[in-house]
Amino acid sequence: MTADVDVVETTLGRAFWIGVGWLGFLAFLALFASWLPIGDPHEIAAGGPREGPSFGHIFGTDALGRDVFARTIFGARISLVVGFLAVLFGMVVGGGLGIAAGYFRGVTDQIISFSFFTLLSFPGLVLALLITALIDRNQLTVSLTLGILSIAPVGRLARANTIVFAEREFVQAARVLGADSTRIITKEILPNVMIPMAALALLGMGIAIVAEGSLAFLGLSVEGDAVSWGKSIVDGSQARDLEQNPNVALFPIFVMFLTVLALNYAGDRVREYFDVRETAF
């Protein structure tokens, strides 16, 4: 190990908790949006068309007079859920395959590692475009598509960590005591591999939220009148809308930016805090 130039801090830090606070606040608003005095995101002419921010509509209104704040909060529902489900799917499938590859090695490892390598050989958004173009796009299928993209990165991390832990004394002790593979994987290896995966999960959720937005720009996000951040931003980003009515695109962009920043920062801090390094190859 080389000497670290940067001082490694021993707490997660104030900025981490500010970020987590923002995410919690947003999740709260999104979760209870229907019961809070936020308004209906689909209501046409809730205010006059193309109004700037005002007391009644703090983010203003769009060309159809819909409340941009309501659309941003209800958009958080879809964006956060898509981000969460995508990462969850990647964790379960990628994590499972990665641990299996790292634990059993041999042919299993070669097949799984090659699959990861193949998945990583697509530019992520191009693979997402290919799949979403061919399926019915609802919240679940879009989430799963983005989840497929996270299988390989999560899987590689899980595999690398499993290889390290499989050699450790406590795992060998368990084996000597007669524990079978299932027990060793679930009781000894999984709890240790979970921590670095958690850090990656935070980063991955940010990436998935951004990816949903990118798909929206390609016309491939969730179909129908469901609101997501990506779709709101696309709505407001045609040259004419943007010129006359920048609030429609810029407010959701700002909220999304803060969210991704919070997720990235939190992920980075968790990783540094637990000081996990991807070592074995």
Partner: protein, 335 residues
Amino acid sequence: MRSLLLRRAALLVAVLLAVTFLAFGAMNTLGDPLFNIVGPLSEIDCDAVARGEAEATSSALDGNRTDCEILAGVRADYRLDEPLLKRYVLWLGDAARGDFGTSFQSEGVPVSEILTDKLPVSIKLMVYAEVLALALAIPLGVYGAYRANRRADRVLSVVSMAALAMPSFALGVVLLYVFGLKMGLFPSSYDSSSVWSELRSLFLPALTLGSGLAAGYQRLLRTDLVTTLQEDFVHMAKAKGMTDRHILFRHALRPSLFSVVTVFGIQTGALIGGSLVVEQIYLIPGVGRELVAAVARDDFPVVLAGVVMIATAFVVINFAVDLLYGWLDPRVRTQ
């Protein structure tokens, strides 16, 4: 070195086969392949027509044949009655010769022609973005390492963190609004009337694409350079009385560029994905925009060819970077 090259080449072939199979397989298993080729025409029940229960129709596509004859022709052309693996092998043979079939919607224009027409603009955009990214990242990375952990370095670190959190489409919209529409410094759409106007109209798109790359490169370069600056040969150069600038750019920069070269290949994926979106925002007539338009009009031969071309290019670039890395750093060769 020789056996390493051979192993790399074998892996390259295997990955290319896997990638093309995945794309081809997705196109043929998700949804109805016949619909993916001919669109709504595929929903005609030709068995019923043959039994005389429904009337034979003909569409504007080909006045001389009935729709069912066209469908039968497509089935034969695309070998839809064969097993998937056999169709893949046959398709791959055609694709390797550059024959991706014809676009169904654009009156039988070869798909490869549609895509190669759009390719130059996309490549210009991506090269432009890389150039801007390196032009920003190298000086700022060197400066960050030079002033490591001082105020300037901390500011740069916050800025690059923010740039990484800003999705390219969001940055694209913001830049378009501020510099394109409000200040009127740049046109809001692509203009290729002269070299100068092309450079000018591609500036904001390239900056949009390049800023995330620049932030990533800057962080890597700074970290590596901080380590290099503690090496003996740097102290030696300092003791000999060389200027800081000379040491930074002539001595320390080159051995600190390994990580940047490594991620260069990986970042190409993000660059390609980003350009799909940026071409939408700035209305640039490149491959990405063609691909999205093809998806919107259910023109799946174009989609499949586009995806395969992009993925192939990405795989080849990554392998080239791998080899370049081995050439730059002799230690890699002996592994």
